[in-house]
Amino acid sequence: MSKIKIKVGMASCGRAAGADKIYKKIESYIKEKNIDASVEETGCIGMCFREPIFEISSKNHKVIYGDLEEIDVPKIIDSFVDENPLQEKAILTNEFDAPENKNLATQTRIVLRNCGIINPESIEDYMENAGYKSLEKALKNMTREEVIAEIKASGLRGRGGAGFPTGLKWEFAYKEKSDKKYIVCNADEGDPGAFMDRSVLEGDPHSILEGMAIGAYAIGADEGYVYCRAEYPLAVKRINIAIKAAEAKGFLGDNILGTDFSFHLKLKEGAGAFVCGEETALIASIEGKRGMPRIRPPFPAQSGIWGKPTNINNVETFANIAWIIKNGANEFSKYGTEKSKGTKVFALAGKIKKSGLVEVPIGMTLREVIFDIGGGMKTEKDFKAVQLGGPSGGCIPKELLDTKIDYDTIQATGAIMGSGGMVVMDESTCMIDVAKFFLSFVQSESCGKCTFCRIGSKRMLEILDKISKGEGEMEDINTLKELAVKVKDSSLCGLGQTAPNPVLTTLKYFEDEYIAHIKDKKCPAGVCTNLLTYEIQPDRCVGCGMCAKVCPVDAISGEIKKVFEIDQSKCIKCGACFNTCKFNAIEKK
């Protein structure tokens, strides 16, 4: 075994931040200097704001370094050769002070237990960390009923958004009598702003496979699918590798671990349709059809893929299963609130300092997650709202920061817990623009089956567009509210039923901003371009002419060293001059 071990965070986020280059540099440096060291890939540890990251360990030391550049690599490796770890760029260690030392200690990692720790392409690594032991325990020491009872007792609720009790769902599928049953993992993580499923798929794929195999045993399924978004190529690759490895080791396939339980698993790539996150649409998609939801009942537990009983759970839900079987329901239900047990992974993004993934017991407040764990705001601008739950969710304002994050309390605010995406917004975010953003997303992703979802959302979008252009009337607010109720009531699936949420929550908490757009014809955040004017401040303009140079429509004119001027009739409000001026001489109003 090598003296020094290096693990580079190589999930999509790490790669996007340049982890590939770091990895290559490590490889070439240890080869060049003939250092006794090994390097391998690992998943995302969640501290995306510090990417690229690697963990390096020797006999006596272990340190995680972040914000890395290629030039840091030799210095760090050399310091480990000398058994005297470099302190610069260290972000987490228990040997000396480092900025993120407390980062993981404030979290409770069940779902992310292996992410950023094991090599996701090595089944041996997973097995060394108790991998597939829970499957063995379930198959050899527990009856199917006992497995279901354990999951029920744990209080685990579906992590995809709706929060339906998982054990109960399994029991429905278990009770159906059929010659064939299916189990499906919904890995079609479509909520913009949520990326925890991607992280688990990329960082710990076997935990999902193990959870699915246990579920298949419990409900009596012998075939399963992982339905994964095609926009996640690395996740697709790693799941495929994991399936092959698990088959080779006998954790998937016929007569698993010498029992009479057989389970075959396949990966299905999605083809880009948000609505396929809905169970019945997902089933249609697996069958090779347009992913249109249908009326329930019959529920998938009665009639799913090809009319057979089918159980669908989300990635994060499955990632909890092996842990619960291993540690017991009681251990799991110690975490969380009375009605929402366990932990939840949140994806922190937007204007937050420590963007990335965190896993905390359910029931923490928004303030604790955003300010204590997430480090608060990235810029000096004030917190304005947090968007929770993606297009089906809503914007929660400052006044409600002490709200506890559990399924029911969040729902009471008008948002939903959803898959756990939290996008933090500051004063430079316009709430009408946000509402418009989500509505245009839902509108274009509506499958078109239900009239109110198809046309109602379109009409709502047109009204928001009108308001953002300064052409709104006060009556529009009432029309929006009226349409919202109708779209909710007259849509078949979750997409339509929740589509108005972003509009309703912004209207509820930020109505004054709507009024500012309608009555004062102003966008307080300075986002809605039609309501903006750019003006050059004569006292600050030095006459450098840079603004005139970048203006794409030649709206700015003037003589060098004299004050320039913007022709408002030509200005398209692109903001190029504003971003270019080094003297803050251009004001946005």
């Binding site: 931040a17 995306c48 913009p192 702003g193 790539e269 880009g272 090779g288 992913g291 995406g421």
Partner: protein, 153 residues
């Protein structure tokens, strides 16, 4: 029209598999870059599924393309975090760099196709784009132009 052997192999691979339409379409698009009229007819002949049904599936899912695409595909993320991080400016910069108007998707020389996508799941590095299979994060209008330069012929 003669189809390459690779395409014949796709049909052999998925023969007699239930629900094989989408994987067949995905594989053929992988080979040809898009779904041509001819290949849709071929899929219909081979599977017995009507052309209209295949067309229905092709137009339902955003990843299927009915027009040829450029050598490189640039996916500009328009997810929530990117939106809040001014991804519109990134989109504008990419279009400007490639001389594309809002209605155009592919450059005249067939080098680049630009697509707006919902979320690439790299929210912590927003704004983000993906060129082919490589993701780039923490972009500015200037840096994105430089990145595209690296792909220029």
């Amino acid at each position: 029209m003669k189809f390459p052997n690779e395409i014949e192999e796709v049909f052999t691979k998925y023969e007699n598999q239930k629900g094989n339409l989408i994987p067949i379409m995905q594989s053929i698009q992988e080979i040809e870059g898009y779904l041509s009229k001819e290949s849709i007819k071929l899929i219909s002949n081979k599977t017995g599924i009507s052309i209209s049904e295949i067309y229905g599936v092709a137009t339902f899912y955003s990843l299927f393309r009915l027009k040829p695409q450029g050598k490189h595909v640039i996916r500009v993320c328009q997810g929530t975090a990117c939106h809040v991080g001014n991804s519109k400016d990134i989109l504008r910069a990419v279009r400007e760099k490639l001389n594309l108007t809002e209605m155009e998707e592919t450059t005249a020389d067939n080098e680049f196709t630009i697509m707006e996508v919902a979320c690439l799941g790299c929210c912590s590095l927003s704004p983000v784009i993906m060129i082919d299979d490589t993701t780039y994060g923490k972009l500015t209008p200037n840096s994105v132009k430089k990145i595209i330069n690296n792909y220029d012929k």
